[in-house]
């Protein structure tokens, strides 16, 4: 019996309160949404989900999230590497800045991107003249997703790089491997689990993002309407059941990803 919990003060009631808080806050709502979306039966659920705008939104979200995640993997790996392995002025400042997207409200992030890349700005004006459309088009959504998921891959690979035993690398060098070969055969495999789990978390987040995207996307149905904004739209149009149906789709996808991440991390801790 754990010594901390014996004795006065820790009653059954206390435990129940904590557990109740947990269950009511987390489990109930999620169960609720699954039941509610099927409350009117399978057909209405299917109808809501097969509405072309709905599945187009989901597909668009997945496509853009994948692009943002892949970009993140490259950028994140490079930046994580630079911040851990190299010493240069401003390194500590940049390292702290990495967490900015965690600290900043998503709506503010969206506004920032709008101001920076919008039609009235330097970059936006330039791009428009070149024929590239950013804001209110897909590129802006990708930028927004990139912004909010920026820290994930970086923070996932940094501890791995820090923990890594330098002697592995040195052994490779003494055996005659070039820097490039060493990187790909020794260092990269160590970073890989971090890149993968960081990417999955980033993907999951990009799928779910609302605040940053809704301000910059233009939200044109079928074109630049992502799933979370679609759901929002359905709620505003007093179609909560339709919103719930598409939510269930998105949720199930996110849960699968979360579960996969748990599996990967579980296996890693067993090693």
């Amino acid at each position: 019996m754990n010594a901390l919990f014996r004795g006065k003060g820790w009653s059954f009631g206390f435990r129940s309160a904590i557990m109740l808080y947990f269950v009511i806050l987390i489990v109930l709502p999620i169960v609720g949404i699954y039941t509610q979306s099927f409350s009117l039966g399978w057909t209405p659920f299917w109808e809501s989900v097969s509405d072309p705008l709905a599945w187009k939104a989901v597909l668009l979200t997945v496509k853009l999230a994948i692009i943002a995640t892949v970009l993140n993997m490259f950028l994140g790996t490079m930046i994580g590497w630079v911040l851990i392995r190299y010493r240069f002025p401003g390194r500590r400042l940049l390292n702290s800045l990495v967490d900015l997207p965690f600290a900043l409200p998503t709506a503010v992030g969206g506004l920032m991107i709008l101001l920076l890349l919008g039609p009235n700005s330097l970059v936006g004006g330039l791009a428009e003249r070149l024929g590239i459309e950013i804001v209110f088009h897909e590129p802006a959504i990708i930028v927004a997703m990139l912004f909010v998921t920026f820290p994930f891959v970086i923070r996932a690979i940094q501890p791995l790089l820090e923990e890594m035993d330098k002697s592995e690398e040195e052994a490779a060098y003494t055996l005659g491997a070039t820097r490039a070969k060493t990187f790909f055969s020794v260092i990269f495999p160590t970073m890989l689990p971090g890149i993968m789990s960081g990417a999955m978390l980033a993907f999951s987040r990009a799928l779910a993002e609302f605040g940053a995207v809704v301000l910059v996307a233009g939200n044109i149905p079928g074109k630049t309407l992502i799933a979370s904004v679609y759901i929002f739209g359905e709620i505003e149009s007093s179609n909560p059941q339709g919103a719930a149906a598409v939510s269930v789709l998105l949720l199930t996808l996110s849960f699968l990803i979360l579960w996969t991440v748990n599996l990967i991390q579980g296996r890693r801790s067993d090693q």
Partner: protein, 266 residues
Amino acid sequence: MMRRIWITLTYIVFSLLLIAPLIKIFTGSWADGWSGFIEGITRPQSLHALMMTGIIVVVVTGLNTVFGIMLAMYLVRAEWIGRRMKRLLNSLVDLPFAVSPVIGGLMIVLILGPNTIIGTLFEDAGFKIVYALPGMILATLFVTFPLMVREVMPVLQEIGAQQEEAASTLGAYSWYTFWKVTWPSIRWGVIYGVVLTVARSLGEFGAVLVVSGNIMNKTQTATTLVYQDVENFNVVAANGVALVLAAFSVGLLLLMEWAKKRKEVH
């Protein structure tokens, strides 16, 4: 050297993605000069929205800190929960991370909204949940729930139960042991968790937008006000409020990094 290229590229990415946008917020607020800025943030709806955000941040951080620490202790130390159950609960804790904020808001509306059993029950008693502050607090509680738990759990696992066992053999009961033995070890993890929770509740947007109905001067928060301003093309005002939020965020970021350092020292 390759090194220089990578470092330069890194700086470019940072400037484009993070630094330039941040600067733009600062400069954009002053587009109409100092008076424009002041006007933007002293509008009645701005002040109200900032106040709502403040209330939500305080309440949510307080509740989730207390419950988060307790839950973390149960999940790591308690022996009355079976091992399988603990693993299940552990994965459940992460759920809010996987849920899009809009869906989070939707869930609360579906269960506690004015068309539901529970919702009408409370409303008859004079206590509105959805489209009122309680609903907004609930939505933010949901979204920020995992943060404290996830910060405290690894610390508890690392320090191990032995010091607490030692305290029990010396006659200390649970509360005394918690304050004198456990708390000094988890203190910095908790502080870091508090900063994260504050930052997240400050910035919560999607869930609150859905649950609150974004009624000006009634259920608007700073973030939903920014949204509304942008939709109404009132960019300068939006900028002003956003600046206040951004300033807080940068401050929180500094606190975050400082607490992170202290957390690792011990």
